[in-house]
């Protein structure tokens, strides 16, 4: 009797500590976002957005979602900040004196947004309580996934099983969206003739900074190792193709920022990366087609090899495809912004 009582007390205490930490972090996020709304300097707001992404990562960890925290850390805090910072020097306008709407309009917009917030708060009053165990959304399909994953799929990670097996169609569509984003970045930039006689202020090149280059040299192997680890172990631990692709891409981007053009030459590599991204989607689709060929449903991994490990094998293959596509598309987007900077400076 006593161990269970102390156990329940422990869990209640843990939950209250989690909630208290969540409130603290969330108040920090709101303060940071108010700073973004008030600042008229773009670089400042981009860096503040990166800070808020890092705090959101901690919140995701507290909310039992290490997969989402990993994705947010590599994409929201790292890659999106780099891409935002790369586009700033190519833009001509000076942002410090960017015209703002008149004051009465700002007050009017503020009132509208406050009214929206009040309306949503009234609606949210009917939601289940935070952390309620018997809420409706935990009862039906999620309960099925949790109860049947170990028997049906044979892997411990529920997130990987839902992502790759139960809802494989969704993920195929999302991988295709990422490929389309990379290809459309190439098309948008290729269609644009560079205009001459413009003065562009280049930001101070980070590759001249000895602190940055030394640290990059030390940590890059570990980042790549970590990316490969979560790519391979996506079924048994937090991780998977999306996170691994983003982390590997951020490793390459970091190396490229410290030693420009030393790893891959931009112009020749963009086409190769586009081909690799397409191959990733092709691996995914071909895995589905194998099942179709063997007389099962599309993306039913039971058909790949006979035996119980077929599902796990299929999930590993499509995670590889997702990882290739995500990594190449993010690198294409980064390189396209770099190439544009390079042309403009010339």
């Amino acid at each position: 009797m006593t161990p269970t009582a102390s156990n329940s007390l422990y869990t209640i205490l843990t939950f209250s500590i989690t909630s208290a930490l969540l409130y603290i972090f969330m108040c920090a996020i709101i303060i940071v976002n108010i700073c973004i709304a008030l600042s008229s300097d773009l670089i400042k707001s981009i860096l503040l957005m990166s800070i808020s992404s890092v705090i959101i990562c901690l919140c995701y960890l507290l909310l039992d979602a290490p997969d989402v925290a990993m994705t947010e850390a590599s994409l929201g805090a790292c890659i999106s900040t780099v891409i935002f910072l790369k586009i700033i020097p190519t833009l001509q306008t000076s942002f410090s004196n960017a015209t703002r709407p008149p004051k009465y309009k700002t007050i009017f917009y503020g009132i509208v947004c406050t009214l929206l917030a009040i309306t949503l708060a009234v609606i949210c009053w009917q939601l289940p309580e935070f952390g309620q165990t018997d809420a409706v959304m935990h009862q039906h399909v999620s309960k099925y996934y949790i109860d049947h994953t170990v028997q049906d799929i044979g892997i411990p990670s529920f997130v990987a099983s839902i992502l790759a097996s139960y809802r494989g169609y969704d993920t195929l569509g999302e991988t295709t969206v990422i490929l389309c984003a990379g290809v459309s970045a190439i098309l948008i930039f290729a269609n644009n003739k560079s205009s001459s006689n413009r003065n562009i202020e280049i930001m101070t090149n980070i590759s001249n900074n000895p602190i940055f280059t030394t640290i990059i040299k030390i940590i890059i192997p570990y980042i790549i190792l970590f990316g490969l680890y979560i790519q391979v172990n996506g079924e048994v631990s937090p991780g998977g193709g999306f996170q691994a692709g983003a982390i590997l891409a951020s490793a390459v981007i970091g190396y490229d920022m410290s030693y420009p053009q030393s790893l891959i030459k931009y112009r020749s590599s963009t086409l190769a990366l586009a081909v690799v991204a397409a191959i990733g989607v092709l691996i995914y689709g071909a895995t589905g087609l194998i099942a179709l060929y063997k007389g099962k449903h599309f993306l039913n991994y039971d058909a790949i090899i006979p035996g119980t490990s077929s599902q796990s094998l299929g999930i590993s293959i499509i995670e590889l495809g997702v990882g290739l596509t995500v990594m190449s598309s993010l690198l294409i987007i980064y390189y396209m912004f770099i190439i544009k900077n390079y042309n403009d400076v010339k």
Partner: protein
């Protein structure tokens, strides 16, 4: 039980802040930042819904499928999957929108909404000639 529902006010205030940044600024990059905040608020809202009291990270801890002895409460894994892919797709689409802003800046020499709206009639006239 007032305090447990109070936490939903945080994504709501983030959402209205993001909307305020979108409509209050003329600069397109600032508008994209507002859109990113808007997106973050929706992601946080879903993650709040997925949390279960006393739940643990959704990775199966008992591999023994036959027995029903291990009754571990897991947090809901379904919103995790949806939000994980939403983050990746969101960054990809944000990058495309930044590329389009780059094109706008090339053609109009500005990425402020009010300046571009002044330019548009003139350039269409030039093209007609």
């Amino acid at each position: 039980m007032l305090s447990s529902k109070l936490i939903y006010l945080i994504p709501i205030s983030l959402l209205s802040l993001g909307l305020f940044i979108i409509i209050n600024n003329h600069n397109y990059i600032k508008k994209i930042i507002g859109l990113a905040i808007f997106q973050n608020s929706v992601l946080i809202f879903y993650m709040f819904l997925s949390k279960v009291r006393n739940g643990v990270v959704p990775i199966a801890q008992c591999t023994d499928t036959s027995s029903h002895q291990c009754e571990i409460i897991y947090s809901n894994p379904l919103p995790h999957v949806l939000m994980l892919t939403a983050i990746v797709v969101g960054i990809a689409t944000t990058s495309v929108s930044l590329a389009i802003i780059y094109c706008i800046n090339k053609n109009f020499n500005s990425c402020n909404e009010n300046e571009i709206s002044l330019h548009i009639p003139i350039t269409t006239l030039k093209q007609d000639e």
